[in-house]
């Protein structure tokens, strides 16, 4: 376990090297052993050789002693030599036979092991058999030095008799011991040669095996490196690694250069990479986020949403000296090694195109929504009506632009501008509502909001109008888009066959008031205000109006009906309590009278509450209490036509700005008409206006013709 963990893939090489060493050590040990054997064999050979010499030396000394005695000398020297040679020969031969000590050439005692080979054993046995009687005779000679010549002569005879045999035997012993020694040294050489061969083989095995392995692992590493390089060169994302000090690693994808410019990023801190690209606060947050990621205790997927750089807009310097604005998305992931966080992998994606695409998709979707919604509404409308409405609205918006353009002295001039704009846009809103074109109605409502904000602005300046001008532009754009659709629809509708000839324009065909839009508007407002109404419509006589007058009357009726639904008719519950049918009735009537054309809108609602009108006028700061107290009933009722007066609690699309009735008054004034209010609290309210005959003359004449 320990081995496997610590050596891993190097286990094989370690085993091989260990075997190599063990082999070498074995050979070395064997070498020592056999060498010592050879050394002792050499001693044996020497001693065996010495036995040869001693056998001859003993015989010579014996003969010398005999000669000396024969010549009358003492022969002591020869005698001593003979005795020592015999003793040494005997001792050595005994040692060869059964192991024992003897002295070497220098006189040192050495141990001699008994011979072991069969030949040597046989030789030693035979030698002993010959030697033992001779030795006995020598001993007797020594013991009985004066025993006389006969023993000596006998000894000499035996010596002569066996001399050659002993010499031959000792010679055989020497040869055998020599051959044993030679055999051992041959074995040693053989072992050494084999061991060295094995060692060399082992060495080559190691060499080839591991070179092969190294080469293949190098090839794998090189292949992997190439693949990594290929990935890093190709991948669209900028990839880089950060260490715990937020320093960028040496490997990063080519896209990093494409995104951040051609520099060397290795070893650079992450902070310097984002220097000038990300604001300081974001940078600090990012660093805190990465530190959290580096914390083992924190769960990675829990803090993903904290990443402050998931979509960041940056301005990157370009080679031409300019800047490119890009959207980058940074992702940070832990890289885990051995169960520990080793680095943070940073993935940078250039999402500029995606963001652009998303934005254009969003725009397209909005546009589509607009178009689909508009198409549905527009498809219901008569194309001539729609076209006329759009032209009129465009004219109205241009009129607003002209109002803005008019030089005006501040601040009264500015307020007059605003009031005028309000009046126009309110009419647009009314018309749009009547045609159920909610988009335009909403746009107009927002425009009114802006106008009223300006009205409330103290110390109003020209530049304060800028947002309004821009909204106006948006509004014109909306109308242009609707006009495109309208043109498209007009192309789809069958061509109108017109009697006689000539172009057909709204101006040339005398039409009664357009009933449907008013009915629709009334129903919609009632529904939104949770009221039940029924509208009766009798407007045939409106045919006497000129086209221009008809537009003014239509717009006024819209406002009056709107007013009747919102302010006049009560909710069903209130009506039931008051003993009225739950459904309110609104009568729109256009009738010819002696002195002109009367247009009236009457509802059976709660009527005007004079007390409330007074309070409202006072609350709005229009008049003081004293002045109001001096007002007649009629004058108080007339308050509803004053600009900025409304009794509705808050402004919505249908009421509350105090512009609608002002618009009616303005329209009626344009036609030189007169307004009349007949009112009975809790019963009804009828607001009508009379367009004098003088104003109708032109169209009546035209009709007559």
């Amino acid at each position: 376990m320990f081995f496997a963990r610590n050596f891993g893939k190097y286990r094989a090489i370690v085993i091989s090297v260990a075997m190599f060493i063990i082999l070498d050590l074995g050979v070395l040990g064997l070498n020592f052993y056999i060498s010592s054997q050879i050394a002792s064999d050499a001693v044996n050979v020497n001693l065996a050789g010495r036995q040869r010499m001693l056998s001859q030396k003993s015989v010579k000394a014996l003969l010398d002693y005999q000669n000396d005695l024969a010549q009358g000398a003492s022969g002591a020297d020869a005698y001593q030599e003979m005795l020592s040679s015999v003793a040494l020969f005997d001792r050595t031969l005994q040692a060869f036979h059964s192991g024992g000590y003897t002295s070497d050439a220098t006189g040192q005692e050495i141990f001699l092991a008994a011979v072991e080979t069969p030949i040597s054993i046989a030789v030693v046995e035979e030698s002993l058999a010959i030697w033992k009687p001779i030795r006995r005779d020598f001993s007797r000679l020594e013991r009985e030095s004066n025993s006389g010549r006969p023993l000596l002569s006998h000894l000499v005879d035996i010596a002569k008799q066996n001399n050659l045999t002993l010499l031959k035997l000792m010679n055989d012993l020497t040869n055998d011991l020599e051959s044993v020694a030679k055999q051992k040294s041959d074995t040693l050489r053989w072992i050494q040669a084999s061991a060295i061969t094995l060692a060399i083989l082992n060495f080559f095995l190691i060499l080839f095996h591991f070179i092969g392995q190294l080469r293949s692992s190098d090839a794998v590493a090189e292949f992997a490196r190439k693949e990594t390089q290929e990935i890093l060169l190709t991948v669209r994302e900028g990839l880089l690694l950060l260490d715990s000090n937020l320093i960028i690693g040496s490997q990063y994808s080519e896209s990093v250069k494409a995104i951040f410019g051609d520099r060397d990023f290795a070893g650079m801190s992450f902070r310097s990479l984002l220097h000038n690209l990300v604001v300081g606060q974001d940078m600090t947050t990012t660093e805190e986020y990465i530190k959290l990621l580096l914390n083992e205790q924190v769960k990675e997927n829990l803090i993903g949403s904290l990443n402050p750089l998931s979509d960041v807009e940056v301005s990157l310097p370009q080679a031409n000296g300019g800047y490119a604005v890009k959207h980058l998305s940074f992702r940070f992931n832990r890289t885990i090694e051995d169960g520990k966080i080793s680095h943070i992998l940073v993935t940078v994606l250039d999402i500029t195109e995606t963001v652009a695409l998303r934005q254009s998709l969003e725009a397209a979707r909005n546009q589509q929504g607009l178009h689909t919604d508009a198409l549905k509404k527009l498809a219901h409308l008569d194309s001539t009506t729609l076209s006329a409405f759009l032209s009129r609205t465009e004219q109205d918006l241009h009129a607003i632009n002209d109002t803005l353009k008019d030089e005006a002295a501040e601040p009264q001039g500015y307020n007059a501008k605003l009031q005028n704009c309000l009046r126009i846009v309110h009419r647009v809103k009314g018309d749009a509502g009547a045609l159920d074109l909610l988009q335009i109605a909403t746009a107009a409502h927002h425009f009114e909001d802006q106008l009223q904000i300006l009205q409330k602005t103290e110390g109003l300046q020209g530049s304060d109008f800028l947002p309004l001008t821009l909204s106006l532009n948006d509004f014109l754009q909306l109308i242009a888009e609707l006009r495109e659709i309208s043109d498209l629809l007009q192309n789809l509708q069958p061509v109108q066959v017109v009697a006689e000839s000539g172009a057909v324009t709204t101006e040339q065909i005398p039409l009664p008031l357009d009933e449907q839009p008013i009915m629709r508007l009334a129903k919609r407002i009632a529904q939104e205000n949770d009221k039940a109404i029924s509208v009766t419509f009798d407007a045939e006589e409106a045919a006497v109006l000129s086209a221009e007058q008809r537009i003014l009357v239509q717009a006024s009726v819209i406002q009056l009906v709107r007013n009747a639904v919102v302010h006049g008719v009560e909710s069903a519950e209130v009506r039931l309590l008051a003993g009225k049918p739950p459904t309110g009735t609104i009568d729109v009537r256009v009738s010819l009278e002696a002195d002109g054309l009367r247009v009236s809108v009457r509802d059976d609602g709660q009527g005007l509450n004079l007390k409330r009108l007074r309070e409202q006028a006072e609350a709005k700061g229009l008049y003081s209490r004293e002045v109001l107290d001096g007002f007649s009933r009629t004058r108080v009722m007339g308050l509803i036509f004053e600009p900025g007066f409304s009794t509705a609690a808050e402004a919505n699309e249908h009421a509350g700005r105090g512009i609608g009735m002002d618009l009616v008054r303005t329209n009626v004034n344009k036609m030189k008409g007169r307004i009349r209010i007949s009112n009975q609290p809790r019963r009804y309210c009828e607001i009508s206006f009379l367009i004098p005959t003088s104003q109708l003359e032109d169209s009546l004449v035209a009709e007559a013709v």
């Binding site: 301005s315 490119a324 604005v325 353009k405 020209g462 530049s463 821009l470 106006l472």
Partner: protein
Amino acid sequence: MSKNLEQDTIEVFINSLAHFYQQLGLDEVEIGVPYLLDSNHPIVEDYTGIIGISGRRKGCVYYTCPQALLSYILLAMGEKDVTTDHLCDLVGEIANTIAGNARQAFGAEFMISVPVVIKGEPEKVSLPKNTRCVVIPTKWKFYQSIIVVALE
């Protein structure tokens, strides 16, 4: 084009002009009520300084004013000799100030050209076609001048 006509962008141009007058130590310029103008019919006064804009938004911004206004400023600055060249230089300088401020304010968002000065000749003012521009009337002493922002 409406979504490109952002308030902030236009305010930068307005403030640039105000800045120019401040720089010269002149009276404050009054800003009038902005209105829309059909880009197919540009309006110009006697002298006009135009800067081209490209990059994130394309189009141009021009400042146009009557000769009298320029002459007045030159005299106020102590210039004795009011020639056409001087007048052109001055309107060019105003346009340059607007361009410089805009460069500073928008950074890399816009690329802003060196101003071009024209005398009269409205046909030489080339605006993006078929859009509406925002006209910002300005008044200095008794003289009217306008900044026109025409961006696609």
